[in-house]
Subunit: 350 residues, 3 copies
């Protein structure tokens, strides 16, 4: 979205806000002020063509808008609760030094934001790295089943040598859904519930998008465990370096082809694009590659090298026009800002 706009579903009164960039002096260094206004809205999203889920969507989209800011920036995010249930936002990974009342935990740091009410979160963006945000009210439902999460990337003042080399940067938020509660907002997320849909950025294969890269690229995959289950992510055709955990660089990167991602954890994988082909990226928990009771779906996508034609008759994506920015890769290139994304917009629930 453009600066000066508010994030919400176009055409609704909820749309009215701001991603204004101002600069001000903070200590010795310049820190930008990032202002944003965001509605939480009853929204319906559709997985693999037919399975609908009622969500409480940030700015009407799942995942929520990307916050891509510089380390040390001053955040000011006004949240308007347009739903019928209380919510908060926890900025997962933010240290909130001196601002614990901005940590977004209901009954501990603040009261839940009541339906119709607003709350403005003010805090400094630190530390740097792959962070995220999510509601902290009844997380078993609001996070696990209602899509209340989005990516929050803080650009480091002092990037590592390895990350400086990155040419393609992708964000993959991993989630699990339970169709039993799909259309019962305010309910669900009980112990023993079975999850039957599994998504990357809110979409299940074959509705995910290819990760398009070119030989010579240095690729960064930012995995965010946004759901309720542990995922074992395997990338074909490459060995990657596990370079960052929870935003922090590992003292020495660990090499592998599979990484276990727990709820709340983030792993940044970095690898050289040196092997043109068509390569699966998927959860090796086999039952997470399902769409309901149909196999070969769920938490899967494909790395496509631009050098390789996608025209094999057997390839389901052989005529696909990739949707732009599905992994926020274009937004990340644009530099700091707060980015909504048409691709993730759901349908208003009246």
């Amino acid at each position: 979205m453009n600066p000066g706009q508010t994030a919400g579903r176009p055409g609704r009164k909820s749309i009215a806000a701001a991603a204004l960039l101002a600069t001000l002096i903070s200590g010795q260094a310049w820190a930008a002020k990032r202002e944003f206004e965001m509605n939480i809205e009853d929204t319906r999203i559709t997985l693999v063509e037919k399975q609908q889920f009622h969500t409480f969507a940030f700015a009407g989209q799942v995942p929520g808008p990307l916050f891509h800011v510089d380390e040390g920036d001053d955040m000011e995010v006004k949240v308007n609760n347009m739903t019928a249930l209380p919510h908060t936002i926890h900025w997962h990974g933010m240290l909130q030094r001196g601002t614990w009342k901005m940590d977004g935990v209901p009954d501990v740091t603040q009261e839940g934001i009541k339906p119709g009410d607003s709350f403005t979160y003010k805090f400094k963006a630190e530390p740097s790295g792959t962070m995220w945000y999510h509601c902290h009210v009844n997380v078993n439902e609001h996070v696990a089943l209602r899509g209340m999460w989005g990516p929050f990337i803080v650009k480091p003042k002092a990037p590592t040598a390895l990350e400086k080399r990155v040419t393609k940067d992708f964000i993959l938020m991993l989630s699990d859904w339970d169709s039993k509660w799909a259309n019962k907002p305010g309910f669900g997320g009980l112990p023993g519930d079975k999850f039957d849909y599994f998504t990357i950025n809110g979409r299940a294969y074959p509705d995910t998008e290819p990760l398009r890269i070119t030989k010579g690229d240095v690729v960064r995959i930012r995995l965010i465990g946004a759901g309720d289950l542990v995922h074992s992510i395997h990338i074909h055709g490459h060995a990657f370096k596990i370079a960052f955990k929870d935003g922090f660089p590992l003292p020495q990167p660990i090499t592998g082809d599979t990484v276990l991602v727990g709820p709340g954890e983030r792993y940044d994988l970095i690898f050289e694009a040196d092997n043109p082909g068509r390569w699966m990226v998927h959860d090796h928990v086999d039952s997470h590659t399902m769409n309901g009771d149909r196999p070969h779906g769920g938490l899967m996508t494909v790395i496509e090298y631009t050098e390789v034609k996608s025209d094999d008759a057997f390839y389901p994506w052989n005529k696909r026009v990739p949707k732009p920015n599905f992994y926020y890769q274009d937004s990340l290139k644009k530099g700091p800002g707060i980015y909504t994304n048409e691709t993730f917009q759901g349908q208003a629930v009246q």
Copy 2:
């Protein structure tokens, strides 16, 4: 308890034993002899006010007594089985060099201790670190559902520079419970069972206790995976160093804000208390923050800085008088010894 006493429920015949400290020369160094006698008793504990569980409790408490001993100490623990089912004790992490018959595995290193029988475990406390003990008979029931576990901390002869700086030391044992089998001792713990209660040191939020710290503290959180499920523990407001795994120092600590703890694993997290506030500590597996079908409970607690008042009207713990020693922090300060804890005592089952 005082030296010379036995650990069991006060007022029962089972109470009769000893935590005598003797010293004797072992090789070149002095090693203390730690003697203890402990009953295993049918005991009822109550979670979140109303959910009762029948346990086979060590010394009538869940978790069991803390063993806090020096590396190299000679342990001698007499166990009296007062229940109607066989048991053993496995000292998880102890190397048992030259004493494999003391490893406590039924049918492999010993016969199960029959009802009414006793067995004395004799072994050297090595290596150092965060260890634990648990029954090894029918672990799917006795460990997963009957509270048969306790902490075992071995003080190192040569502590690391980082751990020397610790000023507050907390033990958090993580467990899962299934109310379906709560009052059917001898049964339960089947594949596919659903766990519906989730505890820290045998209590579910809001019955857990705050972790009270002060700015300037160096805090150590000893996580012990004592249950059946993987937990993804997130601490708000701080980045921690994962300093030890299974009692051993990592060659280079890894920094993060969330750590995946598998059954049997231990992780020692160390961080600087530099950010006064009220901070959540919880499992990021959302469905583990439930008490049965009620949200906002289970595997959660709060770090409270002493600098911050707890009087917000919305804060459920605003008038709470913390129970002492819930995280064994006071016992750990007292130095080596074997410590029972009134807080963890259950109710005798006749």
Copy 3:
């Protein structure tokens, strides 16, 4: 099997192939050519005496034959699909540099191999380490429930100092089974299914085999997560070094007594055999030590030191004649080759 033979169930027409060793010059170095022909066959295996599972077994065995080859070897594996459903083979961990069409993913790198059809996989064995292979069609059923996996070990050209010291080398493939779908090939592996059998190399305790070692050995345990669940493997009486992940040496090995193994992951543990005794090796997920609803089974085995007699009356394995090569330890000693194993042969399904 001998070179010149084909891998399949003896006495069936499917038996006809080759593990020929040829050598050819590849760049500056000599690389062997490893040719093999392997059927996929409807096969019945039996767990703990009575629970049968219909599998689609590689060469009629579960796990499949061991591929033990040198780094850089040229692989040529012809696969004949004798079952009624399509299959592929994905060589998990192989980089497939320049050979992405050999990666074995249906609808992405090739069409599924139809019933009655064959496909020949040609690729270079790189990188080195503990790898594995499995079907990639409907993995929720074919991998999770039908035994379509086997070990693939690539000997490094430049072994690490630590692995050079290894004297006993064991492969343990970890899997989970669901008896509900045992005899319904073509079905099963749905979200929410409960797994009720848990195996090491396709056998559940007490049908697993002891790991026989001798004081002075340097022991390598290669754990392969071949199933659908996360396993938390605990070894008694020893601290091990986690030396390799997914075939790659860790920059600095991590010491522990328990390791979390996710689906698809591999961990190579190395330890000194310095503590004669009888020591459990088991999953610390308590419910994974079950055989159906019977406790004390599943994912367990015992390390037996040869110095220690196994004649205790209470020890279930006191009169056991170990089956050779259950952990592929004898095959691994023989050097590069492709090894079938009578022990793992199932029963033909007509």
